[in-house]
Symmetry: C2
Subunit: 255 residues, 2 copies
């Protein structure tokens, strides 16, 4: 496999739970020394790149904010390309800092786009109704992700998807989805490196969103046997990875 | 037209805004004296029948709670037929009193069905997530209505539909819809009178939900030129009413 660039999923590939994958930090350093372009992907819509980097640094990874690619980063690129200036954010966590650093602040006047992330408790009736009214007045709908739910310590939690779906139902509009497995996400990640799909491989632990998503964009998909990898899921999947490796630490063996 | 029973929409047919339709109260009294079975229909999911009756009485109508049919009344009938005992209510207003009078109280243990109405500010993330978890544990989803929005004094407000849609998206379940224009609603209203579709006519001001809904159940649909009636909407509609009358006060002219 001859590639110039990699898209590497973070959660389940660089670390699992609170533990870095053995050898991953060294493998990443080696790839960077050899001049490969890399974007580290996360579908989180609650954290800024700085927060993600702080966690990775604490685990021994030498990765900078400019190498992280999230739905918020994709959204910033998307709205700049579309010439959108007024956005209203329905999000939580410090993802608003990501937008602020790009000069984008949540507003309630002249709203061209409503951006919905996993907003948790901010998904109040009042906030949802406010977003709905902006959409009625002509704003576009941008979803940082459209996941159904996620597993918290005490049980399942609704993610952004159901609330995006609610706003779609109310308005008849279809959200532009920024996160994995949308094509927009992979394409904007390639754009940010200035490389083409055929020169790039995706490394991920999720056969559907990582491997299926990248392959549908013409990007080779390398599945790792860490994180959420399960042999039975691989066997049952219609999607076939370009390669399967033990962990990201073994990526060099197929280059 | 020879009928034994009528389904008569309340809002826009008996009154418009805060004013009773001229002659409506007398026309209703006459129909009742002549022995017609009548159910007065409202799609409200925020009010009990007693509250609706109080308003109608204040406008001069002689109508009792037992003659009112709402999505909550339909839901009570629906869950009793289905043998469902444990329900969780995601509603607002005094509609919970309607359920309480039928011996149904919102619970958080042993939930067989989640019932969602237009819950307004109760559509918090916490309440939505609670409903989601009951559904994951096997509860069915019952929607009192699936309207998109309604017009309040200060602008458009999200109705139950978007939040029902959110829970459907999150769980992959399809809600059983109780309100107009669902077949369930019309059929349970007929059941409550013990009459058949062909013996009944619906009187309404909405060409789609009232007339389209009833005709699709085999119930003749009589459109009134009051409330939300607009000549251009009638002309553009694919649904053709069985008859069009000036107002409910003129119903007798076609019997």
């Amino acid at each position: 496999m001859s590639k110039q660039a990699f898209l590497i999923d973070i959660d389940g590939v660089l670390y699992v739970g609170d533990s870095p994958v053995p050898g991953a930090a060294d493998a990443i350093s080696d790839l960077k020394k050899k001049g490969y372009n890399i974007r580290f992907l996360s579908n989180t819509t609650r954290k800024s790149r700085k927060t993600i980097v702080a966690r990775l640094t604490g685990m021994g990874f030498d990765i900078g904010p400019g190498e992280i690619f999230t739905p918020a980063v994709a959204a910033i690129s998307f709205i700049k390309k579309a010439g959108i200036s007024g956005v209203h954010l329905l999000t939580t966590g410090d993802v608003d800092k990501e937008f602020a650093e790009a000069g984008i602040y949540s507003c309630s006047d002249g709203v061209d786009a409503v951006i919905v992330g996993d907003a948790g408790d901010n998904f109040s009736y009042e906030r949802m109704n406010g977003a709905f009214r902006f959409l009625l007045e002509g704003a576009g709908l941008i979803a940082l992700e459209k996941d159904r739910y996620w597993m918290a310590g005490d049980g399942m939690m609704l993610s952004a998807g159901p609330f995006v779906s609610a706003l779609e139902y109310a308005t008849g509009k279809t959200a532009a989805i920024m996160g994995k497995p949308s094509k927009t996400f992979f394409e904007l990640a390639l754009d940010s490196m200035g490389v083409g799909a055929s020169d790039t491989a995706m490394v991920g632990d999720d056969i559907m969103t990582d491997i299926g998503g990248s392959i549908s964009c013409g990007i080779d998909g390398i599945l790792v046997r860490t994180g959420k990898f399960r042999p039975e899921t691989l066997q049952a999947a219609e999607v076939k990875p370009t390669a399967v490796i033990r962990s990201v630490a073994h990526l060099e063996t197929i280059l």
